[in-house]
């Protein structure tokens, strides 16, 4: 059976504040695949993530994106989220006074409402969330803290992964989730991602895009494809072995 496209990006150009960042980007992501996008600072990796989620600060100047066979660019950020696109933010923001539990429940029920499903009550919802907290090796106390408020860098990233596990997206994008993490935190995050991969990715036939500088996260999460990103486009794509080559040679070997 032929696997379907989740994402098809063709000749994409995008800018922010009048600066062209993405220049003729092409990418295909199919069901069940894990893609790693690696590249130096400023190469446009995060721009791609923000363009995909519909952040209006990023302007698509030309090109096309198809998501599950439909035009993505005409959808609002909210519609994209409701259709299953999720991004783990590089810099997750605080929401003082709103508990993680309340935030997650509001998010889950908003998604369900959009999809025409009944809202979950606390009795159904709480065990679902608690099971996910276990998968990231977290303490349930985490659920009663305000969203990201007073969280350490590692806790914030772990919280992003928790949200991903709870919301069960079809296309998850990790925007430098590994940056700033120590080895232990990195392992915890990777375990969470692998749980998503084994639980959700297969059932929903979803896909995962990992944006990172370093190869180290890929020791824990083995990608199907590795893409090297330079100056707003992919300059080389190959299997996981490419990440090792990159680690050995450095980005300068690809700089034109």
């Amino acid at each position: 059976m032929k696997t379907k496209h989740i994402l098809k990006i063709r000749s994409l150009f995008a800018s922010i504040d009048g600066n062209d960042i993405l220049r003729d980007l092409n990418l295909d992501v199919k069901q069940g695949e894990v893609h790693a996008i690696m590249g130096p600072n400023g190469s446009g990796k995060s721009t791609l993530a923000h363009v995909l989620i519909g952040n209006k600060d990023y302007i698509v100047t030309s090109g096309e994106i198809e998501y599950e066979g439909h035009d993505l660019l005409s959808l609002s950020a909210h519609e994209r989220a409701c259709k299953g696109i999720f991004m783990a933010f590089q810099y997750p923001i605080d929401i003082p006074g709103v508990s993680n539990m309340q935030f997650l429940k509001t998010a889950v029920n908003s998604l369900r409402k959009y999809r025409g499903l009944d809202e979950l009550n606390a009795i159904d919802f709480i065990p679902h969330v608690k099971a996910k907290v276990k998968k990231i090796g977290g303490d349930e106390k985490l659920l009663h803290r305000a969203v990201n408020e007073g969280f350490s860098g590692g806790e914030k990233k772990r919280n992003e992964i928790l949200q991903m596990l709870v919301l069960e997206p079809k296309l998850a994008i990790l925007d430098e989730t590994d940056s700033g993490l120590d080895i232990d935190a990195l392992r915890v995050v990777a375990e969470g991602v692998n749980a998503y991969r084994s639980d959700t990715l297969k059932d929903q036939k979803g896909a995962l895009i990992i944006i990172t500088h370093y190869q180290r996260l890929l020791n824990y999460i083995k990608p199907d494809y590795v893409h090297i990103f330079m100056n707003g486009r992919i300059v080389q794509s190959a299997g996981p072995e490419l990440a090792h080559e990159l680690e050995a040679k450095g980005y300068k070997a690809w700089a034109a």
Binding site: D57, H78, A81, I93, P96, A146, L167
Partner: protein
């Protein structure tokens, strides 16, 4: 305008939902103020001589005062000769002796309907039969008079006096004589003097020694008549070791003219007593252009006279064209505690200059101030607070936190903390923050599937949470709903 800004705009453009007028015959006097009017009001209430004397002294003092101008609020001068100082529904004050309907059955059904429409049921039967565990006794004030007080008998069983002020003057003159004006004197300020001169009703409450009031007590103020000022007075006395939780709610019809509400609230706690006073103020705020709305110039003050006593003010201010009030606590008794928790929301052209005064006199007294200001539209929000530690206030402590949240780019927030410390052992802390709902926060919520309007509501509720937590349960729900009405245009 960005889509975010448009959403904010729609979100904060909620309509006032209590703006209807009750069509009822009112007994009112002609506009303007004079000794004759003061005598007339006193006569209508059939007051004893000492009350009339007190009113006349207040009036003569008021004549010597100038309108205060130190606040951050701006409005055209009020014509005090154009205000009607007394208006009462005819049927509820059928005789001029100040007698009121004896039971709820005698209250004009139109008035009962008005309160029902406002969500304030005055039928005890309905309340008793209700599923809610907690009941609330209500004193309903309609323009210048109290029209109904519920659960009076229930409360009388434990010795609690809860009745309209005018009735207390008749039945408990000794308590009125002893306590009236002892916290807020008629010489206190311009509006307190005016109130003492013309106030016509309000609520009176006395909790005897050692009694814990078995239910929430509340006063619901409604201004109905046009061109009328509402000047009510609330006096609550918690005797030694007693406790009471008191709620106050207010609404008014939508009218093009501004209306003046100049109330006085006096709280007194004796040794080991506690009063928790909560307000959800939703006076008509005026329309989107700032036309009409209530001027809410209120003097609220509590006196912790006894050792280890406690007074706690919690207020949610969403209405009024102008809010100008500083619920304060005089911490006289040693080890007494004062608290002030406030959420003030200003939208469109609303102005609020509010805060508190904590006057520490006794030893080991402590106070907490938590103020949350939200400004939307052209709204202007000012926190003004005074923490004074007197010479004898050994080891007194205060912690103040003032947070402001701005929505849109035309609103404003100001913070004026005044601190005076006259003893070296005291400790005063002040924290202040100003923030906006950022595009990043909204993107974050929207990316998780939460619609932008829900996200705004969630962020604001989160901002107010510490204060909402201090409200009694039923009120917390009402307050949150009120915030949404005041802020939302079209959720869903």
């Amino acid at each position: 305008m960005t889509a975010h800004a448009q959403n904010l705009e729609r979100f904060v453009g909620g309509e006032y939902q209590h703006g209807f007028v009750t069509d009822i015959e009112e007994d009112s006097i002609k506009p303007g103020l004079s000794e004759e009017v003061v005598r007339l009001i006193s006569a209508k209430k059939n007051e004893p001589e000492f009350m009339l004397e007190w009113r006349l002294k207040a009036y003569r003092h008021w004549l010597t005062l100038e309108v205060p101008t130190w606040s951050m609020v701006h409005y055209s001068p009020i014509d005090y000769d154009a205000i009607v100082y007394y208006a009462a529904p005819k049927k509820s004050s059928a005789n001029d002796s100040g007698n009121r309907p004896e039971s709820l059955e005698d209250v004009d059904p139109i008035i009962l309907q008005t309160y029902a429409k406002l969500g304030i049921p005055l039928h005890e039967q309905a309340l008793l039969a209700g599923v809610k565990g907690a009941t609330v006794a209500v004193d309903a004030v309609f323009d210048s008079v109290s029209v109904a007080t519920t659960f009076k008998e229930e409360l009388a069983k434990v010795g609690i006096i809860f009745c309209p002020f005018s009735e207390a003057v008749q039945k408990h003159p000794e308590l009125i004589k002893k306590y009236l004006g002892t916290v807020v004197s008629y010489t206190d300020n311009f509006y307190a003097a005016l109130n003492a001169t013309v106030f016509s009703d309000g609520s009176f409450c006395y909790i005897p020694k050692g009694v814990r009031c078995p239910m929430e007590l509340s006063t619901y103020f409604r201004i109905n008549a046009a061109n009328t000022g509402q000047f009510e007075r609330t006096l609550i006395i918690a005797d030694e070791g007693s406790y009471v939780s008191y709620l106050e709610g207010c609404t008014a019809p939508m009218r093009d003219e501004h209306q003046l509400h100049a109330a006085v609230v006096e709280l007194i706690t004796l040794d080991d007593a506690e009063i928790k006073y909560s307000t959800v103020q939703n006076w008509y705020p005026g329309d989107k252009e700032g036309k009409g709305g209530i001027y809410n110039f209120v003097t609220k003050r509590g006196s912790c006279r006894g050792a280890r006593s406690k007074i706690s003010w919690t207020q949610v201010e969403t209405g009024s064209a102008i809010t100008w009030k500083y619920p304060s606590v005089i911490l006289k008794g040693d080890d007494s505690v004062g608290e002030f928790y406030s959420v003030a929301l200003t939208n469109n052209y609303q102005q609020a200059d509010t805060g508190t005064k904590m006057i520490h006199i006794g030893k080991n007294t402590s106070s907490t101030i938590l103020s949350k200001g939200i400004s939307a539209g052209h709204g202007a929000n000012t926190y003004r607070g005074l923490v004074r530690m007197g010479k004898r206030a050994v080891n007194a402590r205060n912690h103040s936190q003032c947070d402001s949240l701005l929505l849109g780019d035309k609103s404003s927030a100001h913070t004026f903390p005044y601190i005076e410390a006259k003893h070296a052992s005291v400790k005063v802390e002040h924290e202040a923050t100003t923030s906006k709902i950022s595009d990043e926060q909204l993107l974050y919520c929207v990316q998780r599937g939460i619609p932008e309007e829900d996200a705004i509501s969630m962020i604001i509720t989160g901002f107010c949470k510490q204060v909402f937590r201090k409200l009694p349960m039923e009120f917390a729900v009402e307050a949150q709903a009120l915030m949404e009405v005041s802020l939302e245009g079209c959720i869903g």
